[in-house]
């Protein structure tokens, strides 16, 4: 593993920018983390779901009597009960998808294999599963549609009668002047079909919950690993007909999320209803097969009839395409995928004329939900595919075509054809860094050397944007009725009675090291050590340190979370000075400084008030303080990024605040006799603006790279024509193992964001770069155009035939 350090964009001392070892790691390496399945309560009942064995069927009858008769079984819950006790979940879509009635258990019909039909609760895990086998469900199988391309056929079965058809959402996005672009073009490159496959990040910990109901105050405490409680609460409160305050979300450690733990709200509702019905804590553990069958698959997307207007020198003028998105059986976060991609509509390129006809359909497969790189990954893979296919058609070097069309450093900040503003970056320089790391100029030698061993060498580039900090107003581009916009995150920083610096966050970290990076920011402002800063682990909505968009998702903590921490700490620093000023008898704030764990008068260091004294005075010894001293030393700050509501008609406006960049280069060796290939060398270069903790950033780059390798080569949720998932476990869903990892070279540059308080950009979702780099390497190695994001050995072999 080699690393190129970035040139420091500024000389600065302090903790920000240092690779501070993580606060989280002591407990986690000792097995003392607290994950959801570690939470236990006296008398808790274990929940097991009876799941549909059919991809599409009417439920003609359900009989739970035999299950309930078993000694040790506490009770059951069916779709009929759910429909009586709750309202359907709020739908983000307008018509037609908005007409769907979505409850937390199947009602009358099942629509995918693994869909929860009945919940059984018993004294032990094993007994709950035993009893679930005694639940008698009579099904009348219906015909099945698993291929999105057939979902709109007349003969395709309709999943949701309420919606009338399998069309969930459609919209046309057009910016610029397509006719002019195609008139100006020397050539039009056409691509009939491109396919981005279905997979997700398979966090090692599956979903789960322990839910307690407090009958006296009619309030639920939901210990869960849901990574976006703000969203879950918005979905669950109205459905359960209760105020948000009745739903308390608590998390400590989460075993990976990657977006896949955003949409567990249906299962959480079931737990809540049973906790109330059975008057005991309900424990739910989702097992690996359950997760693969039913949870958060990434959006499968097709691109049809793509036309690209190009000049003979490789200059890209614009493109048209028809995107067909497969939502699976339910809209649990969709159809937001129908707009999120538009954050990166042109990818990293300067073409100004773009038309995308976007259609999303339902199929008899697990519902899709956000997955690392959510919806942008598909669009970025598409634009990168276009670049390499165009380069091939024009017999140009993919490197040259990229450099000719990349948005340039001098163009920054750059407004895209749809009004998004790319904040900063130097793509060409990053590509040069990546090519240097991989030894681009020696590639011909390596090609020849591989050939001498009967192997075909392939090298490919993937360059993608990692847009972060959503403007939630973009939801109005798919449903103008929605009343969401902007974004926010909260932090509180206080000085407690013995001078402890205590920080609470609104986020739900899953390994991103928030406790550590937050402490670094606080330490720099209060001029102390991160060790002096106590950042509470996890999330608890009773801390009152959260807002509507709180959570950990969509590459935003370094912007929203840390800006909130900075804001709250700046407030606290000002209050400490205000207090000290009063204590010292009217010394102005600018004459004071924070140092050595206290506050002192700059030109009289003897006059020193330790933080402990400050905390003690305000909290426990405040007689005689001036009446007008408005100091609490308990500061709550809400960071709100500067956003406007986009122009709904033109679908034009800024959809995200920051754009981190990833450029990857993969070198593969293909065995032409078998199609078997291995990645033999790999380079990843990252630019996420100011890095608070470079080691943590690099860790995110590595993780995204590994997930890209898995997705490009092995990982796929594939179904047979009856709707059986063929990869329901880690035998057939092969994720990369230690021996699969290639040599890795990482590099970084820092282009601070002009739009964020710390110059940071959210990051962590750059894996799309790797998926494309491998596709491009396969295209280079086989000499055949690659049209799928998933290229297992048999497909590579078929390409070679």
């Amino acid at each position: 593993m080699t690393t190129v350090a970035p040139e420091r964009t500024e000389v600065q001392k302090g903790w920000i920018g240092e690779s501070v070892a993580r606060k989280e790691d002591k407990r986690l390496t000792q097995g003392e983390g607290v994950f959801v399945d570690d939470v236990k309560r006296h008398g808790m009942g274990y929940l097991h779901f009876v799941r549909s064995p059919y991809a599409h069927a009417h439920i003609s009858s359900i009989d739970v009597s035999a299950a309930e008769a078993v000694e040790g079984v506490y009770g059951t819950l069916t779709g009929e009960e759910v429909a009586a006790l709750t309202d359907p979940f709020f739908q983000i879509a307008g018509a037609p998808g908005g007409a769907i009635r979505d409850f937390s258990l199947a009602l009358g019909k099942v629509r995918y294999v693994g869909e929860p039909v009945v919940a059984v609760v018993a004294e032990t895990r094993e007994l709950a599963r035993d009893a679930s086998e005694l639940v008698e469900v009579e099904y009348e199988p219906l015909s099945v549609v698993v291929d999105a391309r057939k979902a709109l056929d007349g003969e395709a079965p309709v999943l949701h009668d309420d919606a009338g058809a399998n069309l969930m959402w459609e919209g046309v996005y057009e910016w610029g002047d397509l006719d002019a672009a195609f008139a100006e073009a020397d050539r039009v490159v056409t691509i009939d079909e491109l396919h981005f496959h279905r997979f997700n990040s398979t966090p090692l910990e599956c979903d789960g919950a322990l839910v307690e109901y407090n009958r006296g105050v009619e309030q639920w405490t939901i210990h869960t690993n849901n990574q976006f409680p703000g969203f879950a609460a918005i979905m669950m409160g109205p459905a359960m007909r209760v105020g948000i305050d009745k739903l308390r979300f608590v998390t400590q450690d989460i075993g990976g999320g990657f977006g896949n733990k955003i949409t567990s709200h249906p299962q959480l509702v079931v737990c809540c209803l049973l906790a109330r019905k059975l008057n005991r804590p309900i424990q739910w553990t989702e097992w690996r097969t359950d997760f693969h069958l039913s949870m958060s698959h990434g959006n499968e997307r097709w691109f049809h009839e793509t036309e690209v207007a190009v000049k003979n020198d490789g200059t890209l003028l614009g493109f048209r395409t028809k995107a067909l998105d497969d939502a699976g059986a339910w809209l649990r976060y969709e159809p937001l995928g129908g707009v999120i991609w538009a954050q990166v509509a042109p990818g990293m390129y300067k073409w100004r004329n773009i038309r995308v006809e976007f259609t999303q359909v339902a199929t008899n497969k697990a519902p899709v939900s956000p997955n690392r790189g959510y919806s942008r990954m598909q669009q970025l893979w598409f634009t990168e595919r276009v670049i390499d296919i165009v380069a091939r058609e024009l017999q140009l070097d993919p490197v040259e075509v990229r450099k000719r069309n990349y948005i340039r450093v001098e163009d920054m900040p750059y407004e895209t054809p749809n009004g998004c503003v790319y904040d900063s970056g130097d793509y060409a320089r990053m590509l040069d860094t990546a090519l240097e790391l991989i030894g681009w100029d020696r590639m011909d030698e390596r090609r020849a050397e591989a050939a001498s061993r009967g192997m075909r060498l392939g090298v490919g580039i993937g360059s993608t944007l990692d847009s972060g900090t959503n403007n939630f107003a973009q939801s109005r581009l798919i449903n103008p009725e929605l009343q969401f916009s902007g974004n926010n995150e909260v932090a509180t920083v206080k000085l407690d009675i013995f001078g402890e610096i205590v920080v609470t966050l609104g986020t739900t970290p899953q390994g991103q090291g928030h406790e550590t990076t937050a402490a670094q920011v606080v330490a720099d402002i209060l001029n102390c050590s991160p060790d002096d800063v106590h950042v509470r682990a996890g999330h608890d909505s009773y801390w009152n340190s959260h807002a509507g968009f709180s959570g950990t998702y969509a590459s935003q903590f370094a912007v929203t979370g840390l800006s909130a921490v900075k804001g709250a700490t700046d407030m606290l620093a000002a209050e400490i000075k205000k207090l000290a000023g009063a204590v010292f008898g009217g010394v102005p704030a600018d004459a004071l400084e924070l140092a050595d764990g206290g506050v002192r008068i700059k030109d009289n260091p003897e006059a020193f008030l330790p933080f402990m004294a400050c905390g003690a005075i305000i909290n426990a010894n405040n007689a005689g303080l001036p009446e007008d001293l408005d100091v609490t030393l308990n500061c709550r700050y809400v960071y709100r990024p500067p956003f406007q509501v986009p122009d709904i008609e033109r679908k034009f406006g800024n959809l995200t605040l920051t754009y981190a960049v990833q450029i990857h280069v993969a070198v593969i060796e293909i065995d032409p006799d078998t199609g078997y290939y291995e990645i033999v060398d790999y380079a990843a270069v990252d630019d996420c603006g100011k890095r608070i903790n470079p080691q943590i950033v690099e860790g995110q780059v590595m993780g995204a790279t590994a997930q890209a390798i898995g997705a490009a080569m092995h990982e796929i949720f594939e179904y047979d024509e009856d709707g059986n998932l063929l990869t329901p476990n880690f035998y057939d869903y092969h994720v990369p193992h230690a021996l699969d990892m290639p040599p890795l070279h990482t590099g970084a540059i820092e282009s601070p964001s002009p739009f964020t308080p710390l110059g940071t950009k959210g990051m962590g979702e750059g894996g799309g770069a790797g998926i494309h780099a491998i596709c491009a390497a396969v295209q280079d190695g086989t000499g055949k155009i690659v049209t799928d994001s998933h290229n297992p050995y048999h497909r590579v072999w078929e390409l070679l035939q």
Partner: protein, 263 residues
């Protein structure tokens, strides 16, 4: 996770184990459990009782006979076989076992378990078929020894009948062996595998192309692909490989295994 209810017994001798198995046709022998326990987690199978063979020394160990024949106890783990000095008499055995799954599975999984489960993706059924191993099966009325070619009857099915146990595996002397596989990732599940042995002719056994290892013979490496073609394989298709692709790999891997065997 979460198995169905099952009885458990830990016999002190093979005789006791056989008696327990004979007494209950719903009883199954538990070897390393690296396949059986997982199938039970899925509840795709649920024996009424498990007869735990771990700790039966009679079923362990690798002995090298005067004539060079290896006698392998079925409860020998992959790791023990890899470490066995005797087993080096037939180097391919250790070489293949050291690539099965991972350290944890090799520490627990057994040679006998691999053979008796006969999952199409297993390494050892084709290997044992190629090297011409023989299996001793013991039941209430004594023992019988069958060649590997008669041992494997189907997916998860072998000549070991109800109330019987595989009690010994005999591998004849020889060094001219080869093994080749295309796996899911480096060292993952086999998509297709092939084992070859040169004794007079080339004997090649193909795995993952049918319910049991498919044996083909050839006079020389150059004839191997034709021999595989002549076998008219009709392999199953799945998410990892089409039938055609498996049939193609069978030819390529058979040739590679054969080339290694003639070395």
């Amino acid at each position: 996770m979460l198995l169905r209810e099952v009885d458990y017994a830990k016999p002190a001798s093979v005789a006791e184990a056989l008696a327990l198995l004979a007494a209950d046709d719903g009883a199954r022998a538990l070897a390393g459990g690296q396949t059986l326990i997982n199938v039970m987690k899925a509840r795709a199978a649920s024996p009424d009782a498990l007869v735990d063979l771990n700790g039966l020394e009679e079923l362990k160990g690798v002995d090298l006979g005067a004539d060079g024949t290896l006698s392998i106890g079925p409860m020998t783990t992959y790791a023990e076989l890899v470490a066995s000095a005797e087993a080096r008499a037939r180097p391919i055995l250790g070489e293949v076992c050291s690539t099965i799954a991972d350290v944890q599975v090799r520490n627990r999984g057994t040679i006998g378990g691999n053979l008796c489960s006969n999952d199409p993706t297993n390494h050892l059924p084709p290997l044992m078929a190629a090297v011409g191993a023989e299996m001793t099966i013991t039941g209430a009325d004594g023992s019988r020894t069958v060649p590997a070619s008669d041992f494997f009857l189907g997916v998860y099915m072998t000549a070991v009948g109800p109330g019987e146990l595989l009690t010994r595996i005999h591998v004849p002397a020889g060094r001219h062996d080869g093994f080749a596989a295309v796996t899911l990732g480096v060292d993952g599940t086999c998509i297709v595998n092939a084992a070859a042995t040169l004794d007079g002719k080339l004997r090649i056994a193909l795995g993952c192309v049918d319910a049991v290892p498919v044996l083909v013979e050839a006079d020389s490496v150059d004839d191997v692909r034709d021999a595989v073609r002549a076998a008219h394989l009709d392999p199953p298709s799945d998410v990892h490989a089409s039938s055609e692709y498996r049939a193609h790999l069978a030819g390529v891997l058979a040739e590679r295994a054969a080339r290694q065997a003639v070395g």
